[in-house]
């Protein structure tokens, strides 16, 4: 398989076939809470794309050169049996929290308008499972650095698509006659189920 095709396949897989929200249930808390409002959904979707594309490669470097078994051989041959893998959760979550903070400061300094539209969502993202999940899947599937970048970006786009789609459906349903106790989260769950069923149609695509 040629290079470009391989990356295209990882990308389509991350966006459609193995959508991080609809197939792996990641990032559902913010997905359900924020999809009440379309503009906010677009905002958090973009913030997830940015943060996921940045944190996944950084965590890849940390995993490859610090944490994995035998990763420390670049310092000395003596470390070839050292396995710091058990630290990965703590390291990844700190990197994510720190990166979110950095991105927020960077945006505030250089793009006030972007900061105004995305700023309030960034702190929420630090505890969004899809970001940590992206890094953990990257380790589990043993991606290379370029695959990780494509995968991170693709998962972010998948989240963006799913949340904007759900927000639009909820907007259309605003005046429909839903049983009162089903309103809100209950209905959102059923809609997500239908959306996820629709996305399953992509699973036949083989690139």
């Amino acid at each position: 398989m040629s290079g470009l095709e391989h990356y295209l396949s990882i990308f389509t897989k991350a966006v459609f076939i193995e959508n991080i929200v609809l197939a792996y249930f990641l990032g559902l808390c913010s997905f359900l809470a924020i999809s009440k409002n379309i503009n906010a959904s677009v905002g958090i979707g973009m913030a997830v794309v940015v943060v996921l594309t940045i944190t996944a490669p950084i965590n890849w470097f940390l995993w490859e050169f610090l944490l994995d078994k035998g990763a420390l051989v670049w310092i000395s041959e003596d470390f070839k049996d050292t396995d710091l893998g058990f630290l990965k959760l703590i390291v990844f979550i700190s990197v994510i929290a720190a990166m979110v903070q950095l991105v927020e400061m960077f945006m505030e300094r250089f793009s006030q308008s972007l900061y105004n539209s995305l700023g309030i969502f960034l702190p929420l993202i630090a505890v969004n499972c899809s970001i940590l999940g992206g890094s953990l899947f990257m380790v589990e599937r043993e991606y290379t650095i370029s695959e990780t970048v494509v995968y991170g970006f693709g998962s972010g786009v998948g989240f963006f698509l799913a949340i904007v789609a759900l927000a639009s459906i909820r907007y259309r349903l605003r005046y429909s006659n839903i049983p009162p106790r089903l309103r809100g989260v209950g209905m959102a769950m059923l809609l997500t189920g239908l959306l996820s069923m629709a996305f399953m149609a992509f699973s036949g695509i083989d690139l």
Binding site: Y24, L26, A126, G133, L182, G193
Partner: protein, 217 residues
Amino acid sequence: MELFSTESKKIINDPINVNNPISLQVLGICSALAVTIRLDQAIIMTLAVLFVLTSSNVILSLIRNYIPARVRIVIMLSVIASLVSVVDELLKAYLYDMSKQLSVFVGLIITNCIIMGRAEAFALKNGPSKAFLDGVGNSMGYGLIIIIVSFFRELFGAGTITLPDGGAGYVLWSIPDSWYAAGYENIGLLVLSPGAFIILGLVIWFQREMAGVEEDA
């Protein structure tokens, strides 16, 4: 505070019924759905969350007076992440098959909003014994929902009921072959992700009907 006073009963009971973390506060749904394919996975996950939530609540409540408000999120995250790493390593050591099946979802307990939410809303404001009870109550409320969802998903989706044991799980009951011969079929959709969303949606509806909660949206 006495252990069996009305107040402590309320702290434990509320999150199971009228203030359930999953169906009413809508926290921690991410991991709730991924581990509900089989009953044994849901039970192990409940135990993991029980351990992490009660310990993080107690630890954070003990040190609550020394945490500066500005850096509390980082401190909460590091306490929770350490506890989750302990659970992850324990599962790898003693229940290897289970830890393979749960894959990244044990690690994702860190970002489970129930744990951060309870730390922020309860443990940082109350003493350790109350925080302990709150942890037990909320993980029971979480467990109740994911066990119900996984029971239906496994029974109607795969036709079995599996309990956890040291290895790949002990099959308690499975639908007899004579039923299949008579034309019974499993609902394959329930094993896939849409099934999880739809069953949880119905469970939320049912529980809100019971608790009498309405949301305007």
